[in-house]
């Protein structure tokens, strides 16, 4: 597709050509082709073509059982597809073991949290740091080799723990954290590795609204630091407020793609969520009553007038466009 054509037809600056399921991106970080995964008679994932735009926040949504987590597992090497290839940053990652995927800069979290229970919160965090000299068997015996690096990592970990409101829990066993705190710890731990692409599987599930608000701020900050974010989320408000791009899966397929404001009106998406016979659109699901995100944010601000962590989005709750750069 030529540039002039895209300028005419696309209507979206992230996209090369026409907007639609499987459309090509101007600058993709992940490109997947013909990825399928079969569980017995069920095709959990059947994605012909999918591109994730670099440096943007992309939401992956879809009804329960749509194949979102399975897609995550496939892309990150935690599961093997029946067919398919995919590239990350131009490097083919098909068949690459999970730990190498993470080292390449594509780090994921889990829908069912995996905190390391009998390690302290700080130890959990430190495990996330990459390139540690002290993780080599022989070098580990000699503390001077890794002491300095350990101190630097600890400082980074403390910084992240403070941002995620876990600093008071630093020395506690991770097993003693609440479900929501584990979600936060897992996300913070993934960030220790400074990933290029972070893939969050329902990061907000179980996190209280006030903290959700500041987490959204963190995610936006990640973007402004140049990290690409791909996240799975069921809360439509969250999706519309934070993402630059939305990919919708249903029954294993990518059924729609687009910027959040228009994708919710896509008939294919409404079909996926509500079934084929309906006379409302997804907007109705959202527009009933007060917007809970904004509501929570307002309450949080009342409770903590000192919080000024995510300037920008609260004053400007419309979805950000691609050109919008975080200050």
């Amino acid at each position: 597709m030529s540039n002039s054509e895209s300028a005419v037809v696309s209507g979206h600056p992230l996209v090369k050509g026409e907007v639609g399921p499987g459309c090509a991106k101007v600058d993709p970080i992940v490109v997947a082709d013909h990825v399928t995964r079969q569980f017995g008679g069920l095709k959990a994932v059947d994605v012909d073509h999918l591109e994730i735009p670099r440096g943007q926040i992309t939401a992956l949504i879809g009804p329960n059982g749509a194949g979102k987590t399975t897609m995550f597992n496939l892309l990150t090497g935690f599961d093997k597809p029946n067919t398919g290839t995919w590239e990350f940053d131009g490097k083919s990652l098909a068949g690459v073991p999970a730990f190498k995927v993470a080292r390449a800069g594509m780090v994921r979290t889990f829908q069912l949290t995996k905190s390391l229970g009998r390690l302290s919160v700080l130890q959990n965090m430190l495990l996330g740091a990459t390139g540690q000299k002290g993780e080599k068997l022989i070098a580990s015996l000699f503390k001077p080799i890794w002491r300095k690096q350990e101190e630097e990592n600890t400082a980074r970990a403390d910084d992240l723990l403070a941002r995620f409101k876990l600093d008071a829990k630093r020395e506690d066993y991770a097993a003693s954290l609440s479900g929501g705190q584990r979600k936060l710890l897992e996300m913070a731990r993934a960030l220790m590795s400074k990933p290029e692409l972070i893939m969050l599987d329902e990061p907000m599930a179980g996190v209280n609204p006030a903290l959700t608000q500041s987490l959204l701020g963190h995610i936006k900050n990640l973007k402004s630091d140049g990290t690409t974010v791909l996240f799975v989320e069921h809360d439509m408000h969250m999706v519309t407020h934070i993402s630059d791009w939305v990919v919708v899966m249903a029954e294993g397929r990518v059924v729609a793609e687009g910027p959040p404001e228009s994708v919710m009106k896509d008939p294919a998406v409404i079909d996926a969520y509500l079934g084929a016979h309906h006379d409302e659109d997804l907007g109705d699901l959202m527009e009933d009553g007060p917007n809970p995100v904004l509501e929570a944010e307002r309450k949080a601000r009342e409770a903590h007038p000192e919080i000024e962590e995510s300037p920008g989005w609260a004053e400007n709750p419309t979805p950000p466009t691609a050109e919008e750069k975080q200050a």
Binding site: P97, G134, E135, L137, E150, A190
Partner: protein, 325 residues
Amino acid sequence: MDWGNIFGNAVGEIISPTTAAYALAAIGLGIHFGYTGLLNFGQAAFLLIGAYAFAIPTLAGAPLIVAILCAIACSVIFAFILGIPTLRLRADYLAIVTIAAAEVVRYIVTTTGLTDFTGAANGLSGFKGTFAAINPIPEGRYGFGPFSYNEYDWWVRIVGWSLVVLASLLVWLLMRSPWGRVVKGIREDEDAVRSLGKNVYSYKMQALILGGGLGSIAGIVFILPRAVQPANYTTGLTFFIWTIMLLGGAATIFGPIVGSMIFWVVLSLTQGVLYGAIESGALSFISTTQAGQIRFILVGVALMLLVIFRPQGIFGNKKELSFSV
């Protein structure tokens, strides 16, 4: 009953080479299970391999250092054989493979076809020469009371316990380091560790080799005061090592040492008391053979009481166990 003798024997067990050997084996098992979460139910096989791979080259005329390196090399190879097919699978597969492999190696050394090498069921003896030759202690009897031994017995004790100290130091250094953090992470959830870019398979293999290597060194220490007997390497041995490790605390530095001391002192005491009672006629309804078996019934009961009332062991952290992870 000769109480002095009974207590003397029991106290002597505290520093006996057998206690040191079991402590070493339990330290190795601690690396496997306590720190990395590997279910090794074949630690006896590592002791067996250490014993035979030390004794066979020595009897063939190899120098001491060669025999020791041979024992370590064989345990490394054995760890690879166990680990390559199983460490990618779920934890329970390693348990099944180790328990079976331990029996397989025991049957192999017992077969009459290998009598020329392994001595079959009779085992091996006469391999102490190279170790005794480097003994710096002059001939004679040293010590006091229950701790009175000749120069060879002291030499075995000194070397055995030095190895225990070195192994404990090694584990302490490893487990305070980022390497130790990775293996402890693997114990908790290996997928989480994988998602953070660590080569879990490689770490599990390193842990298996390290713990197995300590097992093979334990095997050498174990045979220095005695002969190699294939009957010593049954699954019973593995479970005694497990008992010792759990008694002291699975992921602790001093647990295996103190666990081994308590285990052997208690075995010796019960044996002394039961045998004494039988000889003096106080116990008439059992024979000394039965008394020997009763001791191990007591070990089983003690292990059950331990896991019920103090599952974290003597040195373990109770807090760690209050979580259902």
